[in-house]
Amino acid sequence: MSVAAGHRAVLDPELASPFPIAAEVELRNPQLRKNVAHAIDVIQAKRGRLVAEKTDWQQLRSAASAIRAHALENLGEYLAEFETRCTAAGGVVHWARDAAEARKIIVDLLRQENASEVIKIKTMTSAEIQLNPALEAAGVSVFETDLAEIILQLGDDEPSHIVVPALHVNRSQVREIFARRMGLPELSDDPRALTAAARNYLRRKFLDIPTAISGANFLIAETGGVAIVESEGNGRMCLTLPRTMITLAGIEKVLPRYQDLEVMLQVLARSATGERMNPYTSLWTGVTPGDGPQRFHVVLLDNGRSAILGKKTERQTLKCIRCGACQNACPVYRQTGGHAYGSVYGGPIGAILTPQLMRLEHAQTLPFASSLCGACYEVCPVKINIPEVLIELRAQVVDQERKQAGRVFDPMYLGMRAAGFVFMSAGRFRLAQWLGRAGLRLFTRKDGWIHALPSLGARWTGTRDLRGLPKQTFHEWWAQRGKEGS
């Protein structure tokens, strides 16, 4: 939910409300919905134009998908290669089994550095492991340097999009946050004034704080290098001025070869921000004497990823390059924004990723948070068939839930079981149609329409009427026609 409403979203799947309930909260915030719809419509239109000018877009998608699939099929080898090369270049590679281990590694590294402050390049993976609260608890002040992340940090808010995390906040809300938190009551909402305020705020941090944390867009096995793409130059600053850089990356981020960037950077920029090329692409390999951070650590995070690798349908989830195109294309996300998903990963990719990273029971409403319209799959630059994975996860949720005793009387389960029984016989189907017609007649008004239904039906009739059942099914019409014809 937005800053202006003064309610902080919960992006922890273990604590967040189920999607339908969290979504209702967002739907009651017209300003947020306006901000979200406007922002993604702008990005979508830009993406559409730039994809259309690429005559080989579908081939690029196929290539990107193949590169990612190949990397995942040989992930162990490529990670080992990355570790070897990165170490040889002067980096230190750490392996973290889960979020707690990753947080501990990073906190320990900061202790070794005697760091009381740290600057950060935008990293969604750090939000995944709830890094900032852990750092603050360890006495380290965290300063985000990405403009959107500054807005969220100063606004005591949470990211709602994986590429444009403050997409739900509009310009006048940004002005309000900056004016209040930077002590600039006269600040205008002119974008140039806002940017200048952010620059002033950031300049001292860049100059004074010698320790930085980043994520990674890609890890390159062949060279042991790390790639970051960004739009503001804050990443470049963090890779130039600090003494120490700690990079946190999911293990799936690895690419086999340096050359693979040729494909990946093309599809990423167009899909993410609707640009031919993103403004800043930083590539670094270990440590270079006299240039940039002289101490470099990479924390490779598993946190549930290796378990996904072993699953046939779900494995494709890990091909994701976090471009956010599925979020921008999603008609559900367009209404609710990202916070309703109760995780830093919102939208379609979040609906499949979060339940897999967490235990399914903490996110069992997420696979159902989709109308299965397929827009996400159509835009995905690495061809993740998100609807297919959603359906697979739905089946897993149902398999898990239907064993629970309490579900016996759940109207949804009763109805689905009954329908399953009915559909296996034409005779039973006709009987059910007859009973349905008789039952619904009680609710059908003189105009032939049903305006209100009880139980689950009320969720339909809350906003929609239902035409009363016709007197004759098609079956009955056909049978009658046969008799009349003969």
Partner: protein, 250 residues
């Protein structure tokens, strides 16, 4: 040419006029229409809601039922998409070689209505007359699942008297999504509201589609809001002639 009509469970129950229109239309075009009385449902609702076992049983049943059909025509894109996209996965996982083989021979004979008309019969002018302002809603399954492309527009373009108005944001979902409309009723309704605004802006008298599921959703809200416009399955438009106009439920 013979074809077997798979009417689908909800058309049979809720929208029989769509089936009657398909029969009238295809017979007018010289096709012999058969109807297998054993049919019930393709299993889509169960599959999409996570009830895989039930979906598999229904899928197997459908394959058996239509084994001998020369062709099968289905006036619902989402049911055709279920058969094309999800049956292979279900049969891979739960089926045996026999059902996979039977399915492989059946699959190429299954057509969505506009595919049947344009690809199989090779007609886009079906001799229809429907003197109204109409906008076409592309259902997600027809658009992205079946890639129907310009087929619906080619059919509508040849309907005499019909004034077709393009619906903006054609690729955006109406928010139905089967049990999604119940499980996530609020979000579904918000998506619906956006779609209705686009439809209303066209000034059309009718919103048509190749899926009664979307039309049930849109029509239900139009009726609730006294929107002054109606929904109609494209089969009814195509079946309509000067002498026998479409049966329209007021």
């Amino acid at each position: 040419m013979r074809t077997s009509l798979f009417i689908t469970c909800y058309n049979d129950t809720l929208y029989p006029e769509t089936g009657r229109a398909v029969v009238r239309l295809l017979e007018r075009l010289g096709v012999t229409v058969e109807f297998n009385a054993g049919q019930t449902c393709c299993g889509q609702m169960h599959a999409n809601t996570g009830f895989r076992g039930e979906a598999f049983s229904q899928a197997k049943r459908l394959v058996r039922l239509y084994q001998d059909a020369e062709t099968v025509v289905i006036p619902s894109s989402s049911c055709v998409a279920m058969i094309r996209d999800q049956y292979p996965l279900l049969f891979d996982e739960l089926g045996n070689d026999a059902v996979r083989r039977d399915f492989a021979t059946l699959l190429p004979r299954i057509y969505e209505l506009s595919e049947f008309l344009i690809d199989k019969l090779g007609v886009d002018d079906v001799g229809a007359y429907f003197p109204h302002r109409v906008t076409y809603h592309a259902s997600c399954h027809g658009l992205r699942g079946l890639h129907l492309g310009d087929r619906p527009f080619r059919l509508l373009a040849k309907v005499r008297g019909l004034d077709e108005v393009m619906l903006p944001n054609l690729d955006r979902c109406c928010g139905f999504g089967g049990t999604f409309s119940i499980k996530n009723a609020e979000v579904s309704s918000a998506m619906l509201a956006v779609k209705l605004q686009d439809i209303a802006a066209t000034g059309a008298e009718y919103c048509t589609a190749l899926d009664n599921s979307c039309l049930m959703h849109l029509g239900g809200a139009m009726h609730r809001q006294y929107a002054g416009m109606k929904t109609i399955h494209m089969a009814q438009i195509l079946a309509s002639t000067e002498t026998t106009p479409a049966e329209v439920f007021a």
